[in-house]
């Protein structure tokens, strides 16, 4: 039986961690993820878990601790945000290339600078090519459910890749919402125990991890890693299917909201999906066929699946909650637009960069995007493809000047 509760996103993740009782937690605080190690420290102090709680001096060290622990055969977890994730950059690649299934709770916060503590996705988007699986949540329930599924995906023998479970800083991490929790025993049974075939400790054969890799071998190992990321697609769906069977909540690579007959659609990640859904209901009551694709899994990127989901849509706005500074749009736009290239009739597609560093995005803002898409459909003219929304401006902007 599920338990009805009210928790913040950070509490929900810490609660899941307590239920899983990982072997090692490497802790270093950074806003807005700090509460996760803070709540977990209480579980440790109360004897509710027997996790080795390692307080370290930096995020580079927390990830390094996870790497050592994971290589030793332990289930290792950590949590971070923003500059903390950036400080892990070097070792994120070591974790992935050493094929260590570490679980990182990423509470998304903008990346400095200018220094700011609020939400956007620039931190985890910066790590998108580090070889980590990345799963994003719309709300607290999804943050909890994604965390429960994370280890099984990442520990799958033909995957063996670390996983980042992301949620929006403050919006999700600090807002208290209704949530369905699962019972400890059911969670333990679902997640299972971690018994890797090879480990530095407790095996009858030795192991060396992360040796120097000469050029005659290194590319082959990178190809193995790329294959593992492809395998993760299957593992993600397998685990989601079992999760639905066990707990009744359904997950996939993305959620399609009112997409069956949608003519205009948004593609976005995270908490803005709730705002978009409210807007879609408004627009639908006015006879406008609006839909939404909410990305859950960004790495591995569901390339063919996204294309199929958008194949019948006339105009799409990809909503990027991070700047790519590419002068051509954000990272989500690049991927979605590329995925649609092979469609016989690709939708017209624009990129709307929004919500940077905590800039609010309300139902009216989302509505302006849909109305702009309707204009594109009507005129057949796409106009500028790379647009910012929500900034103050001295001139007239495509999506209003925010003043």
């Amino acid at each position: 039986m599920s338990i009805r509760e009210r928790l913040s996103g950070n509490e929900a993740v810490a609660y899941a961690m307590r239920q899983i009782n990982p072997d090692v937690f490497a802790a270093f605080p950074i806003t807005p993820s700090t509460e996760i190690p803070q709540y977990f420290a209480q579980y440790v102090a109360n004897g509710q878990v027997d996790t080795e709680y390692v307080t370290v001096e930096s995020e580079h060290s927390s990830m390094s601790t996870c790497i050592g622990a994971s290589a030793a055969g332990c289930r290792a977890v950590t949590a971070t945000s923003s500059a903390g994730l950036a400080f892990m950059y070097e070792v994120l690649y070591v974790a992935a290339s050493s094929r260590l299934p570490i679980t990182l709770a990423c509470v998304n916060r903008t990346l400095t600078g200018p220094i700011n503590i609020n939400n956007d996705h620039s931190d985890s988007m910066g790590a998108r090519d580090s070889g980590w699986i990345q799963i994003y949540a719309e709300n607290n329930q999804e943050a909890y459910d994604n965390y429960l599924q994370a280890m099984r995906i990442s520990e799958t023998p033909d995957v063996r890749l670390p996983i980042m479970v992301c949620q929006d800083g403050f919006i999700t991490s600090h807002a208290v919402e209704n949530i369905l929790l699962e019972e400890d025993a059911a969670v333990k049974a679902f997640v299972g125990e971690y018994h890797p075939e090879h480990a530095l400790m407790g095996r009858d054969h030795p192991l060396a991890v992360g040796p120097y890799d000469n050029s005659p071998y290194c590319m082959e190992h990178k190809v193995q890693q790329a294959e593992a990321m492809k395998n993760a697609k299957r593992a993600i769906l397998d685990v989601a299917a079992d999760f639905e069977k066990t707990f009744g909540r359904k997950y996939g690579f993305f959620e399609e909201y009112r997409m069956e007959d949608a003519e205009v659609a948004l593609v976005l990640i995270g908490s803005t999906a709730g705002t978009a859904k409210a807007c879609i209901e408004d627009l639908r009551s006015q006879g406008i066929k609006a839909g939404l694709v909410k990305i859950r899994v960004f790495r591995p990127f569901p390339f063919e699946e996204i294309a199929a989901a958008l194949s019948h849509v006339k105009a799409v706005a990809v909503m990027d909650k991070s700047e790519g500074y590419s002068a051509a749009g954000g990272p989500l736009f690049a991927e979605v637009r590329s995925a649609c290239y092979d469609l016989p009739n690709p939708p017209k597609m624009i990129d709307v960069v929004y919500g940077l560093a905590g800039r609010d995005c309300a139902v009216q803002d989302v509505e302006r995007v849909y109305r702009y898409l309707l204009k594109i459909v009507e005129t057949g003219e796409v106009g500028p493809r790379y647009i910012h929304m929500g900034q103050r401006s001295a001139k007239e902007e495509v999506l209003g000047n925010g003043l």
């Binding site: 094929r99 063996r160 991890v209 992360g210 071998y217 082959e220 190992h221 193995q224």
Partner: protein
């Protein structure tokens, strides 16, 4: 259980035949890599001057001075990298560094 062994992997092995992340499931595999090819200088041992004090062997960072029954043997030139430490520490000038000539 048998795992992929370092001796079964070489520069012709396809990616499917390598271990994940390059992990190694046995000890002492450095023996299989002939690092002696990297050498610029090579040590030459003059056994007539050598007093078998055995100072050189533990100083060698590449375990390239084999010791058997309390006596050092000639260099393991498959692995010696020619650093010259042994020549420096030998109190009896029984080791001389020479220019390596690779065939």
């Amino acid at each position: 259980m048998s795992y992929i062994q370092a001796k079964d992997i070489n520069e012709k092995t396809p990616w499917q035949g390598l271990t994940p992340g390059g992990e190694i499931y046995e000890g002492g595999t450095s023996k299989l890599t002939l690092t002696g090819q990297w050498r610029v200088n090579r040590p030459a041992w003059n056994s007539a001057l050598c007093r078998q004090c055995l100072l050189c062997a533990p100083f060698c960072p590449d375990s390239s001075i084999p010791v058997k029954d309390g006596k050092r043997l000639d260099f393991d030139l498959d692995h010696c990298k020619g650093c010259g430490i042994c020549a420096k520490v030998c109190p009896f000038k029984a080791i001389r560094m020479e220019q390596e000539v690779h065939q």
